[in-house]
């Protein structure tokens, strides 16, 4: 039997016997992440929808100064309530999301036909409140516009004079693309799945084996080191890939329960999504496993290896963060960059956007090349004498 295969089978068998690690890497990690994700989205969406449908509860200071305005708001399903004593403070401390304040001289200006001031007190850093603020602002602007039009008519002028430009908005976002903003973090969850899957074995088979004093006897066998490394890497990769597969399948299954119809959006989590995602994630899982092994083999001790591998976990966040903060246009070269290409492809697939076959192929090949380079770097470390010496 081939020596690399012997090493592979032994590492897999030994790892499978570690029930707790297996449970954590194969189930808790890959299943919890998508479940949590779906749960989070569900809560978020449901709450947003609740807010939009519910009457807007609005504290108003000085409501008595503008009874007509208040009546108009009431007609639009706004519940007027008494304002707290210090509206600014109440908003800052999040007791209230927003407060409308009307000046005592409101009626004076209004009657003269001059701009009468109403104050909208809110905190734009509270994302929660933004929807309500927008709702109220729209109502107030609508009221102002209507009153303005009536005044123009009363003076014998056409209200259209004040509308030299008719702006018609044509939003080109599709239902899927609106959804994708919510889901730009998803590729990271898959990557994280693979990361967790490979972590235990990557450390265990390198610095762990050295620390347990079994690496030196192992290397005394008549097997070239690159074969031993090959077997160990294959085992780590297998667990990483299994983890990723479970993540993707779990998401595809749980994703069906997302309240997408309430948002008026559609997600394409069909067979094409699953197969394409698996296809681009396979080499990435291998790359992560190899990089984990590389840093773990480089480390002098088990503890050091754990630190390095944990730090490595931040690397896949970079493209995720970049893409969710900066609205990058997908450019052809992006398909050639490992990590970034997976991010781009999975996000596009989810949006229902077109992903060219050569994009998938390029992502796969380039990531595979990166795996090869990382493997070669690891063999260099494996050749060093320092590797086996535990004392």
């Amino acid at each position: 039997m081939n020596s690399a295969l012997v090493v592979f089978l032994k590492e897999v068998r030994e790892n499978l016997r570690d029930r707790r690690t297996v449970l954590n890497t194969l189930f808790t990690g890959p299943l919890m992440a998508p479940l949590l994700f779906v749960l989070l989205i569900n809560t978020l969406v449901t709450r947003e929808l609740d807010k939009a449908e519910k009457p807007l509860s609005l504290p108003v200071a000085g409501a008595q100064y503008a009874p007509n305005l208040i009546d108009a708001l009431k007609q639009q399903n706004v519940e007027i309530k008494a304002s707290p004593d210090d509206p600014e403070r109440a908003v800052r401390e999040q007791d209230e999301d927003l407060v409308l304040r009307i000046r005592p001289d409101f009626a004076k200006f209004w009657d003269k036909g001059e701009p009468a001031q109403a104050e909208l007190i809110y905190d734009s850093s509270q994302r929660e409140a933004n929807g309500q603020v927008a709702r109220l602002r729209a109502m107030l602007e609508h009221y102002a516009e209507r009153t303005g039009a009536l005044r123009m008519l009363a003076r014998g002028l056409s209200p259209t004079i004040l509308k030299p430009l008719a702006l018609a908005e044509r939003d080109q976002s599709t239902a899927q693309s609106r959804a994708s903003n919510l889901f730009s973090m998803l590729p990271y969850f898959f990557i994280l799945g693979g990361f967790i899957g490979g972590m235990a074995l990557a450390i265990d088979t390198t610095s762990g084996e050295r620390e347990r004093q079994s690496l030196e006897p192992l290397l005394a066998n008549p097997v070239p080191r690159w074969q031993i490394l090959g077997g160990k890497l294959a085992a780590t990769t297998t667990f990483a890939i299994t983890s990723v597969l479970l993540s993707i399948i779990a998401f595809a299954a749980v994703g069906q329960f997302l309240p997408t119809e309430k948002l008026g959006i559609t997600l394409t989590i069909g067979l094409r999504f699953v197969t394409s995602t698996v296809f681009v994630m396979l080499p990435l899982a291998a790359l992560l496993a190899t990089l984990q092994t590389l840093v773990a083999a480089f480390a002098k001790s088990y503890r050091e290896a754990q630190t390095y591998v944990s730090l490595l976990m931040f690397v896949p966040v970079i493209p995720t963060l970049l893409l969710s903060i900066l609205p990058f246009k997908t450019l052809p070269w992006m398909y050639a960059v490992p990590l970034l290409s997976q991010q781009v492809i999975i996000t596009r697939l989810l949006r229902g956007d077109f992903v060219p076959m050569h994009g998938l192929a390029l992502s796969f090949v380039c990531t595979a090349v990166a795996v090869f380079i990382a493997y070669m770097a690891t063999t260099v470390i494996y050749r060093s004498e320092r590797l086996a010496i535990s004392a």
């Binding site: 020596s3 030994e14 079994s214 006897p217 192992l218 005394a220 008549p222 004498e385 086996a388």
Partner: protein, 244 residues
């Protein structure tokens, strides 16, 4: 047969082995005796090709370790200083793993494992996972797996380290048995009595140099000391690192 010629090995500025030359013959037990830090482990590591020497030559059955390290390792059974076993595998599985790495078929592995388990008295713990094994049980497992390919040459680095009296006695008997099989046995030790009781040849090593390479008898005559321990102290030039 193991031949070491003018072996040099340094780690940075620290010279661990400084021109060691000796021969370990078939059917003999050769003891590598020296105080702690004399370069015994480094010498042995160069022999089983874990390390590459800076200068000099290592020949195992005439094969040069520098040109064909895999063939050299195939001819060696090695019990290194590090003797960790895989704790989630049973003793038998630990042994079989090394057998498969040597490319042996399952029938041979089974037969040799049974023989080794009988010879080392491992029957009552061979099928238990090695987690929680005593030091002696671990060493026995490590020896059984090191010899699964029936090597002609056996290298043991301080084999009795950490063993109790009974286990030490068993180990000595086992080394004698390897010798009577006609194997070349090379082991390192810093314990005088052990080397005196077992060895056909004693290679005394101090500060990386071979200071004597004789039979125990010749060693006593050479130094003019009746007591081997005194002879040893005289040879290495100090009592530092010497343990009785």
């Amino acid at each position: 047969m193991i031949e070491v010629r003018d072996l040099h090995k340094a780690f940075g500025k620290v010279v661990a082995v400084d021109g060691a030359t000796f021969v370990a013959r078939d059917g003999e037990i050769t003891g590598l005796l020296g105080p702690n830090g004399a370069g015994k482990t480094t010498t042995l590591r160069c022999l089983y090709t874990l390390m590459q020497s800076d200068r000099g030559q290592v020949l195992v059955d005439g094969i040069d370790a520098a040109t064909d390290p895999v063939a050299v390792r195939r001819r060696l059974g090695v019990l290194p200083d590090a003797r960790g076993v895989y704790k989630r595998l049973t003793a038998r599985e630990n042994i079989a793993y090394f057998g498969r790495l040597h490319g042996l078929d399952e029938a041979t592995i089974g037969a040799r494992s049974d023989a080794a388990i009988a010879a080392l008295g491992m029957a009552d713990f061979a099928d238990r996972r090695t987690e929680g094994f005593s030091q002696g049980q671990r060493v026995k497992t490590a020896i059984a797996r090191a010899l699964i390919h029936d090597p002609k040459n056996v290298i043991l680095d301080e084999p009795t380290n950490g063993l109790d009296v009974m286990a030490t006695r068993a180990m000595r008997e086992f080394l004698k048995r390897l010798k009577s099989d006609g194997r070349c046995v090379l082991f390192s030790s810093h314990i005088m009595q052990e080397v005196a009781a077992l060895c056909d040849r004693i290679v005394v090593i101090a500060k990386g140099k071979v200071v004597a390479d004789e039979s125990p008898e010749a060693l006593r005559q050479q130094t003019g000391e009746a007591n081997l321990e005194d002879a040893f102290v005289k040879l290495i030039g100090s009592e530092e690192g010497l343990a009785a």
